[in-house]
């Protein structure tokens, strides 16, 4: 069953056509990558799914439901979690607090019960804490638990953001350039985690990526984008070998020819 369906997504900003008739679907349990040169519209797709932008034309369906009228904060309830290209962590809070915020979806208490901090609130806090600790264990973040995020190195911040998305117990994980800024070792860790997320946790992963090796290693299907339009969509091997895709990334041979 297609967990996520995009039908003819089209968005324009001012005079710029960011997305033109983009259609794809993501199957449950797969790793789906979106590749393309900078400015192709990859992050725009994510922002449309997260409902930060409204589509001019087209429809997005999550678990069969049309999300055109859903407000941004309701996407979490639909099981969609995401990370951001430029890291949108809560900088002044600690790692553990960031992760606990990922548990917000499971909040059942209201203001009055929290003001009195009655037993059920305390128990809910401890349960959230346990879940957050599971994520910390999974991503080896124990050493950074009580540190303020703004003081952490870039690679660790990215990991925390991944952890925060995981803490949401999502069904679909949208990762925007998860490996950008990471060195070889960190990227290998990331590949390991992503594979684990797919196989052990059964979460569907959609990622925007530039690192072709990472895409080759763990992805099932790939969508290639250029200038807001789909070049091709298919199995990883096929798409990555497609001459159109290679031309979009590397240009024509004649572009490099000297006189």
């Amino acid at each position: 069953m297609a967990l996520l369906q995009a039908e003819r997504m089209s968005v324009a900003f001012g005079g710029v056509q960011a997305l033109v008739d983009v259609s794809f679907d993501v199957h449950e349990g797969e790793v789906f990558s979106i590749i393309g040169p900078n400015g192709a519209g990859k992050t725009t797709i994510f922002n449309c799914i997260s409902r930060f932008y409204n589509l001019d034309r087209g429809v997005i369906r999550v678990k069969g439901k049309d999300i055109s009228r859903v407000s941004p904060h309701a996407m979490a309830e639909m099981g969609v979690a995401r990370t951001f290209q430029n890291i949108e962590l809560f900088k002044k809070m600690t790692v553990i607090d960031n992760l606990m915020l990922g548990r917000h979806r499971s909040k059942r208490s209201n203001l009055v019960s929290e003001a009195l901090f009655i037993g059920s609130v305390k128990r809910a806090e401890i349960r959230s804490r346990e879940k957050a600790e599971e994520v910390i264990d999974f991503l080896d973040l124990q050493a950074y638990r009580t540190q303020q995020v703004k003081n952490l190195p870039y690679g660790i911040q990215k990991t925390v953001e991944l952890g925060r998305a995981l803490a949401m117990d999502p069904e679909v994980l949208l990762l925007d350039e998860p490996s950008s800024g990471l060195n070889m070792e960190e990227t290998e860790d990331l590949a390991f985690w992503l594979t684990d997320i797919k196989e052990a946790l059964g979460i569907t992963i959609v990622m925007v990526e530039h690192n072709i090796k990472l895409v080759q290693d763990i992805t099932d299907r790939v969508l290639a984008l250029n200038f807001g339009a789909v070049i091709t969509l298919g199995a990883a091997q096929d798409v990555l070998g497609d001459p159109e895709v290679i031309r979009a990334y590397l240009g024509e041979e004649s572009d490099f020819a000297s006189s």
């Binding site: 992050t43 922002n47 930060f52 951001f84 290209q85 430029n86 949108e88």
Partner: protein, 295 residues
């Protein structure tokens, strides 16, 4: 007085006071665009300018035009000193802190003025070459003071417009307010830009103060009037000088017209009601742009 005359009278005085608001609003917008700071002491700059002009003309017996010029120059220097001493150390700090700083500065300035001998807490009249001269057209009476405000404001706006359009430093300032990092790469000295921003803002504020003096007289709480220019600036979208001017005129006219047609008390709050109504419909102000963070 028939309705048309009353209305015209009210409109004129609305435009006149609107010009003052516009000038102070321009001061707000200039600083905001360059540094994202709201200078809550802008009203007090206006007040200080008024007092300086008053000192020039009453204690030093300078003619009006000389007082106006001196005030503008002195206030410009004051703005430069202020920027150097108190604002430059705060570059990079969160905006809220700096805003609170200007609030404190305003309070400090107001109180210090009240303690200076010769100034203090009294209200002082201010004579200009336009005082007690009136233009009459039938039943319509226009005071030359008001006209002078409108004309001089227009003059100053033209000067500023030319500066930002054609002068090298003016263009540099506009560039810096769009993208500080890019401006630095282009060789623009940000320090100089900030200095100049505060110099111009303070000078414009002082100028407005001199213009206001014959109408409301000179007293230490004049700054509160300047504060009403803040809704004017916000109304205009905090983005451009024309926006600030339109905002100022709208506020001035609203005040004047509600003073004419509504019971007293509404006069003071009507600008805020208009402001809130506009913001509800257009949260970015009349000419503002929706600044959405790009993720």
């Amino acid at each position: 007085m028939d309705v048309i005359t009353e209305l015209t009278q009210a409109i004129l005085s609305g435009v006149a006071i609107g010009c003052i608001y516009a000038l102070v609003a321009v001061g707000f917008v200039l600083i905001y665009k360059a540094t994202e700071i709201i200078n809550f002491a802008q009203g007090e700059m206006m007040m200080l300018g008024a007092f300086i002009a008053f000192t020039c003309s009453s204690y030093l017996n300078m003619p009006y035009w000389a007082s106006l010029l001196t005030t503008t120059v002195v206030m410009g220097l004051f703005g430069m000193m202020l920027e150097r001493a108190v604002l430059r150390p705060l570059i990079g700090e969160p905006v809220f802190s700096v805003v609170m700083l200007t609030v404190g500065l305003g309070i400090f300035m107001r109180s210090v003025v009240s303690m200076i001998p010769g100034w203090g807490t009294q209200t002082y009249g201010f004579k200009t070459p336009f005082t007690d001269k009136f233009l009459r057209h039938g039943e319509l009476v226009i005071s030359w003071d008001q006209l002078a405000v409108i004309l001089l404001t227009a003059l100053l706006i033209l000067v500023l417009f030319a500066f930002f359009r054609y002068a090298k430093m003016g263009v540099a300032m506009r560039a810096a307010s769009r993208n500080q990092l890019a401006a630095v790469y282009m060789g623009i000295s940000l320090n100089r830009v900030f200095s100049l921003t505060w110099i111009i803002s303070a000078a414009v504020g002082g100028f407005a103060g001199v213009l206001l003096s014959p109408i409301t007289f000179v007293y230490m709480n004049m700054g509160f009037i300047g504060l009403k220019a803040l809704p004017a600036a916000v109304l205009g979208g905090m983005r451009s000088i024309p926006g600030a001017i339109v905002g100022g005129l709208i506020i001035g006219l609203t005040e004047s017209l509600s003073g004419l047609y509504l019971t007293s008390g509404w006069k003071d709050v009507s600008p805020y009601i208009i402001l809130i109504l506009v913001l509800v419909i257009r949260p970015e102000g009349l000419f503002g742009i929706q600044a959405k963070k790009k993720v």
